[in-house]
């Protein structure tokens, strides 16, 4: 039993009066492949935004590794090993496929000064120097920097290859077909060396064949990079197919958790998806998907 | 990519080079400035070229335009009377948009490209100060018609002026206010954006206090403001007998109106920046009875003045303002110097100009002192019935 990489503990968020997410809890360990489902507006993406720090939870906590990350900046949380894709694709459209991944691959380079506490003035100054140090090296194009850049580029192209996008290397992201854009987003997310990967409807807009491939691919990613993966997906078939454990949201509330069979059989879930009228007509339930 | 970056650089330089060719009419590039006076250039053989720089665009454009017209008239008169030593005179004018860097640029142009014998300008002291070093280092005499800041002629022995300087003008108004108007408490409202206004303020406040008056308040505004109530209210509280406003007519008119609106009864005093018919349009009744110092008055009975006014009317159909008069004088002083000089350029012209004594100018008789400043009286004018009235002349 490996240790917990991502943990939400009764995280809730409200916008004005609207309770968008209530007491959302889950744990992700290395090798997990979990699903987050629910009808439209159930708060799935909101959950992602809370986990990744786009929104700060109004109550409850989010932990990445052992660190409590409430109120941390998204980029800080990402650096702790949590990467995501977006439901409405958010690639850097004017950049090439390769550059999209390069940006993500850019991990914090070897600092000029080692910074122990970034809090103190000394720490701040040192940190600032480090920041600009990167750029000085970029401007001077020092051999060390040239090497780093070369490595980054190599890693980026590897990731493109993994996602089967090598042939698109130098094309602008905006010119890629929909399916490939989704894959590029995953490649980009992987660039940040995540421990946990959050996929927001990765299969949306794909045809059945692509989806099948994607299912395989997601499993491969998990094994190859030793990830924990959380998938939002509408397509029951896909989710039931790959996820060992599923959480179901409705109106921001967790109405069911458990393995696919259990969830499939859950009355609340069926109500949420099909409305209770369905139950009256089909008393023998459990026929979802 | 770096190689390419280089190429673009090449390109820029290339552009510059050919640009230069287009611009310079002179076949051979002018020799490096300092030693050789630019008289060597062929363009100055048949005709003597005067250079003039002024701001013909922008808020105070009227100044530049008047000066230009004054210069043009002087030149055409000179040519009508057979030019200088048989050589015709021409004038090359550049606009500096009132910007110092453009003034410096224009000066460089006149020197390096047009090889002028002398440079006339600028009105604003800042711009003259931008031009002066260029003229000095190229040994081309420069005569400023109306830059009143002392620093201008301090740049070097090639820099002259045909107008009095701020210290004198400030002194005149202080004297007039104290002796003629019997003012004991005065306030000052200065234009923060203009060096000219700053200069006059400093001198006026110093002199006025020396004479035993008291300055009850100094407030500031910035050119282009339209609401002066805050400053005026503050001044009103100090209850001065007179307010000295060494600004430009564009602001003074509005200030006057708002002052009277706020019930300020104090007399308004000003400097030569007031000189413009716009003052009466903007100020209306409010500027009536105000006084300001100036370089000359159209009412001055002196023959050369009246003759100047007459021919100016003939040429431009308007009564010349003081800047036209000063432009006229600057050009004539320059040409007078050329007549006396062995060679109408460079050092010999400088020496000739330095000798200028009791020259009958339209704006008063001009004698240049050791500091190359004109020593001449100033006139005090009063606004009456929408035009200026000559009050008195005050000599140094």
């Amino acid at each position: 039993m490996s240790d917990v990489l991502l943990k939400a503990d009764r995280a809730s968020i409200q916008f004005g009066g609207l309770r968008a997410l209530t007491d959302f809890s889950l744990e992700i360990r290395q090798g997990d492949l979990r699903g987050l489902i629910g009808p439209n507006g159930a708060g799935k993406t909101t959950a992602f935004n809370v986990l990744t720090g786009v929104y700060r939870p109004t109550s409850g906590d989010v932990y990445v590794g052992a660190r409590r990350v409430n109120g941390k900046q998204p980029h800080q949380i990402n650096r702790l090993g949590l990467a995501r894709t977006f439901q409405n694709i958010r690639l850097f459209k004017a950049l090439t496929a390769l550059d999209n991944v390069r940006v993500a691959c850019l991990s914090d380079t070897a600092p000029l000064f080692p910074v122990r506490d970034a809090a103190g003035l000394g720490g701040r100054v040192a940190a600032a120097c480090n920041n600009y140090y990167d750029w000085w090296r970029a401007m001077l194009l020092t051999p060390g920097f040239q090497r780093e850049e070369a490595d980054i580029e190599r890693r980026a192209s590897e990731l493109l290859e993994v996602m089967g996008l090598s042939h698109r290397r130098d094309e602008h992201a905006r010119n890629l077909p929909y399916g490939e854009q989704r894959r590029l987003e995953i490649a980009r997310a992987l660039g940040t060396r995540p421990k946990v990967l959050l996929l927001d409807e990765p299969a949306a807009g794909m045809n059945t064949r692509e989806k099948a491939e994607l299912m395989v691919l997601i499993r491969q990613l998990r094994d190859r990079f030793g990830l924990g993966i959380l998938v939002i997906e509408h397509d029951m078939k896909l989710v039931m197919g790959i996820c060992e454990h599923i959480t179901v949201l409705d109106h921001g509330e967790t109405i069911a958790t458990g393995d696919p069979q259990a969830v499939r059989a859950d009355r609340k879930v069926i109500e949420a998806y099909l409305g209770d009228s369905y139950l009256e007509t089909h008393p023998a339930s459990g026929a979802l998907a | 990519m770096r190689l390419r970056a280089l190429l673009t650089l090449h390109a820029c330089v290339a552009v510059l080079a050919c640009e230069k060719k287009v611009e310079s009419p002179a076949p051979a590039p002018a020799p490096a400035a300092p030693q050789a006076p630019t008289a060597a250039a062929p363009s100055a053989k048949d005709v003597i070229l005067l250079g003039e720089i002024g701001s013909l665009t922008g808020a105070q454009a009227t100044f530049g335009v008047s000066t230009k017209q004054g210069v043009e008239m002087a030149v055409s008169e000179a040519n009508a009377s057979g030019g200088i030593k048989g050589r015709k005179v021409a004038v090359q004018v550049y606009d500096d948009q009132g910007k110092p860097e453009e003034a410096a640029n224009a000066a460089t142009r006149l020197i390096a490209q047009d090889h002028v014998a002398v440079i006339l300008g600028e009105v604003a002291s800042t711009n003259s100060l931008a031009m002066a070093p260029k003229a000095q280092s190229a040994h081309v005499p420069m005569i400023s018609p109306s830059s009143t800041n002392p620093k201008v002629t301090e740049v070097g022995d090639y820099i002259f002026r045909v107008c009095f300087i701020d210290p004198f003008q400030g002194f005149v108004m202080a004297k007039f206010a104290h002796e003629n108007l019997k003012v004991s408490k005065a306030a000052v409202l200065k234009d923060q954006k203009s060096d000219y206004s700053q200069g006059l303020t400093d001198v006026f406040t110093r002199k006025f206090t020396e004479m035993g008056g008291t300055i009850v308040g100094v407030e500031a505004y910035a050119q282009g403001d339209t609401d002066f109530r805050a400053q005026l209210t503050a001044i009103k509280k100090a209850k001065p007998d007179a307010i000295y406003i060494p600004g430009y007519y564009t602001d003074v008119g509005i200030i006057a109106r708002q002052a009277s609106e706020l019930g300020l009864k104090a007399t308004l005093l000003g400097g030569d920046g007031w000189e413009s018919d716009k003052l009466f349009e903007l100020g209306g009744k409010a500027v009536e009875g105000s006084y300001y110092t100036n370089h000359y008055s159209p009412e001055d009975p002196a023959p050369q003045v009246q003759q100047f006014i007459a021919s100016y009317k003939k040429m431009f159909g308007a009564v010349p303002d003081s800047l036209a008069a000063l432009g006229y004088d600057a050009a004539r002083v320059a040409m007078d110097g050329m007549k006396r000089a062995s060679e109408p350029t460079g050092a010999s012209l400088r020496d000739a100009l330095a000798q200028t004594k009791d020259f009958p100018g339209a704006a008063g008789t001009i004698s240049l002192d050791g500091a190359r400043n004109a020593v001449k009286p100033a006139v005090v004018l009063q606004v009456q019935g929408g035009k200026t009235k000559f009050v008195t002349t005050i000599s140094p």
Binding site: F86, A94, L141, P143 | L9, V13, D95, A112, A132, P133
Partner: protein, 344 residues
């Protein structure tokens, strides 16, 4: 484009451009210095290029919008100017005066740049945390404040201006910096760090999610841009005899904005070309008009309105400007090919 060099980096690759540029400029130096007017024009062009390219790092690459570049230029100009005034009499012993002057000039420029950079940080931090268009207003206000400060400070010469700064600027020095800023802009733009700037311009939220500290990057870009604006100001101070607040109004800022918009927000070479053209064109027209006896001043009169019109027309007709985000060498080959086809 050199996205990344060979696996083993080399100092040669890093230094090559300078090794080429320095001799080239050194060769041109004596030629230009005999032509005062060409010298002046080339200096102005150079300064404008530096301004345009540096502003392009913020407005073009990072997609923020600063319209107070003249403010930073002013800070740099006055800082460098004061420094040079202080060391006017000094000379570095054991060096030919010419050389020591140039070294002192470099020092002055660095001072100017550094001070401007500090101001850039102070202005940038608050406004760059907010949504884009606040920056526009704050930078604009900053320019105004600088003006007022200068007018109230005796050391800075108040409204009359600061004169007596040694006129040490040379063609070599100006264009060396032009070269430096272009090189820096290109190298940053091509590095993964620079790509992060583009990422911010493209989609700030996604950039954040990919671990880009967007605020820090924006501020950093802003600081570097301010630094070079300061250097440009410093150079300006060393070939214009008097420094006056009137030279650094927001009209100046707008000129620079027009340059980068016309050149194509994000295109360094575009900025360079636009800067050259927009600086030389008025000069050329003025000369032309004067030769035909038409008042050259009308050129300067219509300049500003035309700039305004240019902005509108560009945004409506060709928002990507001359080159969009690409560089000349990306465009030229294609363009030439098209020309060939057309001719054939």
């Amino acid at each position: 484009m050199a996205n990344a060099g060979p696996a083993s980096g080399s100092w040669l690759k890093a230094a090559l451009p300078l090794l080429v540029a320095v001799p080239l400029l050194a060769a041109l130096q004596p030629l230009v210095s005999t032509m005062p007017f060409a010298l002046y024009i080339s200096s102005i062009v150079g300064v404008n290029i530096i301004l345009a390219v540096s502003l392009n790092i913020v407005n073009g690459m990072t997609g923020q919008f600063s319209i107070g570049h003249a403010g930073f230029m002013a800070v740099g100009a006055y800082a460098a100017g004061l420094f040079s005034l202080r060391v006017k009499e000094l000379a570095i012993s054991g060096l030919p005066p010419m050389l020591s002057d140039q070294l002192l000039l470099v020092a002055a420029l660095l001072v100017g740049g550094a001070v401007a950079a500090v101001f850039g940080f102070m202005v940038g931090l608050p406004s760059l945390r907010l949504r884009g268009d606040y920056l526009a207003i704050v930078t604009l206000g900053f320019g105004e404040i600088i003006r007022v400060v200068v007018q109230n400070t005796d050391v800075l010469g108040r409204a009359l201006g600061l004169s007596g700064v040694p006129q040490r600027s040379t063609f070599f020095m100006v264009w060396l910096w032009v070269f430096a800023v272009v090189l820096v802009a290109r190298r940053v733009a091509n590095s993964s760090h620079g790509r992060s700037l583009w990422a911010i311009r493209e989609d700030e939220i996604a950039a954040e999610a990919m671990g880009v500290n967007t605020t820090a990057y924006k501020v950093r870009a802003f600081v570097i841009s301010a630094f070079f604006a300061g250097v440009a100001g410093g150079l300006f101070a060393h070939f214009v005899p008097i420094l006056n607040p009137g030279s650094f109004t927001w009209v100046k800022s707008m000129e620079v904005v027009v340059m980068i918009v016309a050149g194509g927000l994000g295109s360094t070479t575009g900025a360079v070309l636009a800067a050259v053209v927009l600086t030389l064109l008025p000069e050329a027209l003025r000369t032309l008009f004067n030769q035909f006896g038409v008042g050259g001043s009308s050129v300067d009169q219509v300049r500003m309105p035309v700039y305004g019109l240019l902005l509108v027309v560009l945004m409506l007709g060709r928002p990507q400007g001359l080159f969009g985000t690409t560089e000349v060498w990306d465009v030229l080959p294609r363009w030439m090919a098209r020309m060939k086809k057309r001719l054939a």
